[in-house]
Symmetry: C2
Amino acid sequence: MENGQSEAALRYEALTVDTLATRLGDVHEVASRVGGEPASWEIREVGDGNLNLVFIVTGTAGSVVVKQALPYVRMVGESWPLPLYRAHFEYYALVRQAKRAPNIAPEVFYFDKPQALFVMEYLYPHTILRRKLIKGERVAHLGETIGQFCARTAFRGSELSLPSPEKKQDVGLFSGNVAIPAITESLVFTDPYYGAEMNHHTPELSPVVDELRRNVRLKAKVQRLLMKFTANTETMLHGDLHSGSIMATDTDVRVIDPEFSQYGPMAFDLGMAVANFLMAYFSQPAHRKDNVLATYQAWILEVIEACFTSFDAEFRYLWQTERTGILFPRALFEEQGNSADDACDALLDEIRLDALAYCGIEMHRRVLSLAHNADFEEIEDTALRARLEARNVLMGQALIMNPDAAREVPALIELAQAYNRQDVL
Amino acid sequence: MENGQSEAALRYEALTVDTLATRLGDVHEVASRVGGEPASWEIREVGDGNLNLVFIVTGTAGSVVVKQALPYVRMVGESWPLPLYRAHFEYYALVRQAKRAPNIAPEVFYFDKPQALFVMEYLYPHTILRRKLIKGERVAHLGETIGQFCARTAFRGSELSLPSPEKKQDVGLFSGNVAIPAITESLVFTDPYYGAEMNHHTPELSPVVDELRRNVRLKAKVQRLLMKFTANTETMLHGDLHSGSIMATDTDVRVIDPEFSQYGPMAFDLGMAVANFLMAYFSQPAHRKDNVLATYQAWILEVIEACFTSFDAEFRYLWQTERTGILFPRALFEEQGNSADDACDALLDEIRLDALAYCGIEMHRRVLSLAHNADFEEIEDTALRARLEARNVLMGQALIMNPDAAREVPALIELAQAYNRQDVL
């Protein structure tokens, strides 16, 4: 699928609505799926994200999505350069996800390395999950699908499953993606906890923010988690599994945009996904009222429960059926008449605790650092927004400081309900 | 220092005593240090290790050591091939160690990549520490030097100190050294705990071995530590820091042979070094008697105490003076008027616990797996050997199962003394 043209032969040039048909019109993998004369293709640029160009290309046969990296951070501008090679890693991540958790990531049809672009499946009528959660729409099997996706990619990308030389080679490959982990490291783990330059937060939230930033034990715990994140290669992560990286219909759930993919701790994607469900939960009082509010918030908590439950169930199933790597080998357990089930439970327990702590960190950075969530950000009444964000920030702090108290899902749910009732502002 | 010849131009050929002078006689970095006519160089092959060719080359000006990898495991033969590139990583490790912990690793004068050889400082009158420990010789500042070496390499090879892009690039480089971690992973972490093909142990030790291998919780703990080892890139390890990788005079301590170097947990080298001191301790009753035995064993325990104490002291010093990486940044602590000392203590506590567990694993593999220690192996009375090995194996088990009980050095010392008095065989 990688084309053979040398980087020198094909200098990078950003696509535009006007040049796309000419430049991709003779690429069979694209033209055959779009259909008709390239000159008559309907081309829309829809990149509402922070970093890239995204085009939807439609012809007589169908539609595809063309995604191309820009050499800078789109939401900031050319003053923040970002290497094009991140698109290569996004492509590598997509093909690995397709193998490890089939039918969740969009299918990739074509990859052009020098142009830092790839062409993939157009998901329709899917919309971004975050918008659905703000609108109060439900998605069947949402928690189950995300929990299962996290378990499958975590397990099958690790040395519980992969041959070690293959996994280590892949760690070497992904270690080339230096610029992307650097963003996660500072924006997620460090910036929220001091007055970093690009931070912003709702003005009325300041008392809560100031107190949070004085919590030395919290900062130390977060830095220890950063150390685990940055020096851990357990598995290939999605790396940015928030509700803007999930597209859904009422019944189908897909995961997109793994450009922050890196090797990291098994718990990370799970924790980040749950954090985004919790932020949807805490923001709901600004988006709907009364009974509708209560039942929709209850549904979000069910999604969180399903997410954890299905992660554990799928991980246990893979542990029984696909444990072919060097870790916890059958030669030491089953082949000696010993069960390895307790070892699986102990590992899942560790993953749960780490996931809760990473969850707390994500809950912080989305209201304190550079990239905020629309769930809160679209609340125009800043006093109300701050009140809801405070619940979220304080629950995040509790999860980082004492994940053990929320280890069992019912306790986590109760904790969320308690913070949802409690106002410090 | 890397020479410019292409790999194709210079096909690998193993050196011999007869060809060495011809092949290295015109290399300035070698010839100038050895001195005199290459034809008159005195050349001895002294590789008593498991893997490589090692020559001492002496001329009118001095001596150098030439080390060349063989394309197979020397102690097993051509039936166990092993890639030559491991010599490149040994070279990379030596130059990094020279920078991070000066004057401990031998100085490297010349590196020939295609020939998988390098030329380095001849350490004289140093001898292998293991031989000294078997003979009952003391080395001044042994524990202090090893503890300090472990702390310096651990801290300065991590993102507590290094710029993240540099460290991540280095992780990518070292991830190419696939064959070497694979050996550590199986020989150290897995083979000891079941009847792996290449294992051997003292026959009289069998009852202890059988019981150990039935301990499912132990095996699960060790595999969890393997998972941490194999998916952790905290720092660049020596990777094989046993008493055969240490050379010493009465007053000088040097560390050699980092060919098992890889990125891994900060606690690993420290744990392995202490394990080898403990094995020296437990083997002493076979090597000397009465008062001499008691005072020499007491000295070894002092070495262990100094090793841990100086590791902590040096790590704390570097934490205060060289914490320039992305982890626990001053912007979050000192610059906010917060001390980061507690965070350092908490990290050192974690390192200590992991070091004790890795220590226990090394104590096991050296009597149960392929590569045994001369400390025990040279005890001809196998009943006595098994009795001493049993003490070592059982203390190792205690350290893996409950490192917390030996967290404070005095408790660790008492534990060693208790196992030294206790016989199960």
